[in-house]
């Protein structure tokens, strides 16, 4: 019996080693391409890292490219602003939903959620027409970071709303009632009671919405042109421009996926809940 368990544990362990290798293989390959010179790319594929022939040239070329720097900055600004905006608005909305008797609450909640589910391709045309058609003087939303920050609310706000709803619900009502009795305003209650207690939840919300905004491609590619292009569109642009400059392409792709990979450990418990809208808790 003992031996059986042991050998099955060993097998399972080996199985997971193999599975992890399989999962990491494509990413590892991309990393290898990104640190190899062009001459080393072709021929028999090798999965070993040759430290002596390793080069950071591709990264240097990409990072010193002003266009790429701009895309990177845009991505940072858009993702961060959107995450902050969405978390704040959603906290207010979640509080309203949790503590006030709003008419048609359930339908409203459902409607908010549906916004996340719609296929984005369907809305490309109207969004493009809206972004270019709505103008104040010479200014239109097309190719602005503001435009993207607002638009990304369409998928991030429902998510944040849902996530924070659960968190606010879990904060005992007695705490804010007590504050109200002491004469605090709604704003004070939000700031002194709800916000501190919801902080861990807010952090998760912020990180996940940040990643979703960072990863977005389709809207960014249609609704921006030069000034507000993000790194994901840069990646797509890159592949078609350079044709065969695979090393730099791989470097851009590595930089695109790096932030998400870095926060993975922080939020991995919440990813499932995040992606399934909480229908399943991970």
């Amino acid at each position: 019996m003992n031996r059986g368990i042991l050998s099955s544990r060993l097998l399972t362990f080996l199985f997971w080693i193999a599975m992890s290798a399989l999962t990491l293989l494509p990413v590892w390959w991309m990393f290898l391409v990104s640190v190899r010179t062009r001459a080393d790319l072709f021929g028999k594929p090798s999965f070993l890292l040759d430290l002596s022939a390793m080069t950071w040239e591709n990264y240097a070329a990409v990072l010193s490219n002003p266009t790429f720097q701009k895309y990177m900055t845009n991505s940072l600004i858009v993702a961060t602003s959107n995450a902050v905006l969405v978390s704040m608005l959603a906290l207010l909305a979640a509080y309203a939903m949790s503590r006030f008797a709003l008419a048609g609450k359930d339908n409203l909640f459902f409607w908010v959620l549906t916004n996340r589910m719609a296929p984005p391709a369907v809305f490309l045309l109207p969004l493009f027409l809206m972004f270019t058609g709505f103008r104040i003087g010479d200014w239109s939303l097309f190719d602005t970071r503001i435009g993207l920050i607002l638009l990304y609310c369409v998928f991030n706000l429902p998510f944040a709303f849902w996530l924070l709803q659960g968190i606010v619900d879990a904060i005992p009502r007695e705490l804010d009632e007590a504050a109200y009795v002491d004469g605090a305003s709604t704003f004070t209650v939000l700031m002194t009671v709800i916000f501190p207690l919801a902080r861990p939840g807010l952090a998760v919300t912020g990180i996940l919405t940040w990643v979703f905004a960072w990863n977005e491609y389709l809207f960014a590619s249609t609704l921006t042109s030069v000034d507000a292009r993000t790194i994901t569109t840069g990646l797509a642009e890159f592949v078609t421009v350079t044709g065969t400059n695979w090393g730099e392409l791989a470097a851009v792709a590595m930089l695109t996926l790096a932030p998400a990979a870095l926060v993975l450990a922080l939020v991995q418990r919440h990813i499932v809940a995040g992606l399934t809208f909480g229908a399943v808790k991970g």
Binding site: T12, F13, W16, M19, S20, T23, L24, P26, W29, M30, F42, K44, P45, A90, L92, A93, Y95, A96, M97, R99, F100, A101, L108, A118, P119, A121, V122, L124, P126, F128, L129, M130, L150, L157, P158, V211, W214, N215, Y217, L218, T222, T232, A236, W246, V252, A253, T256, L257, A261, L264, Q268, I271, V272, L275, T276, F277, A279, V280, K281, G282
Partner: protein
């Protein structure tokens, strides 16, 4: 209960933004769907066209093909991911050293930007550079060229999606499995039921709500897959991996066929909603039964 006006004020910004970014585009696309509007036509002005666009769509071979491909793709990835995901969930629930690490590694693809997933797989499959063409040639004597052979392209897109999204299924099923009540399982074992019997009669019914949710989420995501396929195959070879999202993009932008593209968007939206609604009904029905 406090003054509801305050409540409405708090939720108003959220509702307002979602109205602008979600509802208005929907109404807009609804309106444009009934127009004859191509900005590069002899007459570039929009004109009311009634249901002409929709009538044309029913006979549009390219559109129908794209829909069919999308469904085929969805079916393939869903089936594979459920089977593989279930198996992996079982494996991950065993007591194994470094379990947390394995779980984290397995979760990694979920967080990667889809466009970067496409780039990753492109690097794996480029002839002359990628290892996959090399191995296919070396081991199976198969000439593997994504831009040439439709079946290879389709299969690769499916495999890429499996790589990308199976972890989600694994994790949801794990959540479901860990909530399985011990008692009926033990009882069944005492009664001498086989593994398959236990799976069909106990595990599966308990897992049903989680399973359906998972299917629901994956279905919606699969139906709207664009980024990674765009990056890997560009919809090619020919239009063999041009799923509906990509197809709409091509009609709306390079072709500037606004009215027709809007009608196409509406049909797509409608089909998505119908499918999701059917599943939703199934799900709620299921939940009620299990109560």
């Amino acid at each position: 209960m406090r003054n509801t006006t305050t409540g409405w004020l708090l939720i108003a910004p959220t509702l307002f933004i979602l109205f602008i970014t979600g509802m208005v585009p929907f109404l807009y696309v609804l309106a444009v769907g009934f127009l004859d509007w191509n900005t590069f036509a002899a007459n570039p002005e929009p004109r009311f066209a009634g249901v002409d666009n929709f009538r044309r769509l029913v006979f549009d071979a390219a559109f129908l093909k794209s829909l069919w491909l999308t469904f085929k793709f969805t079916l393939f990835v869903l089936a594979s991911q459920l089977i593989i995901g279930f198996f992996l969930a079982k494996m991950l629930m065993r007591n194994v050293p470094l379990k947390g690490l394995f779980r984290t590694v397995h979760t990694l693809p979920l967080m990667i930007a889809p466009i970067a997933v496409g780039a990753t797989w492109r690097l794996m499959t480029v002839p002359g550079l990628g290892p996959i063409p090399h191995w296919m040639q070396q081991w199976f004597d198969i000439s593997y060229v994504l831009s040439r052979f439709p079946d290879q392209a389709f299969a690769t897109v499916v495999i890429m999606d499996i790589w990308h999204w199976t972890p989600l299924v694994t994790l949801t099923l794990m959540a479901g499995l860990s909530n399985l009540p011990e008692e009926p399982l033990e009882q069944a074992r005492i009664d001498g039921a086989g593994e398959w019997r236990i799976f069909w009669d106990i595990t599966l019914p308990f897992l049903k709500p989680v399973l359906l949710t998972t299917i629901f989420i994956r279905l919606m995501d699969a139906l709207r897959t664009v980024d990674e396929v765009w990056m890997l195959t560009g919809g090619g070879p020919g239009a063999e991996t041009r799923f509906i999202g990509l197809h709409i993009w091509r009609v709306v932008f390079p072709k500037t066929d606004y009215g027709y593209g809007a009608a196409m968007s509406l049909i797509t939206l409608y089909l998505t909603i119908v499918m999701c609604w059917l599943l939703y009904v199934a799900m709620t029905g299921m939940k009620e039964k299990s109560r």
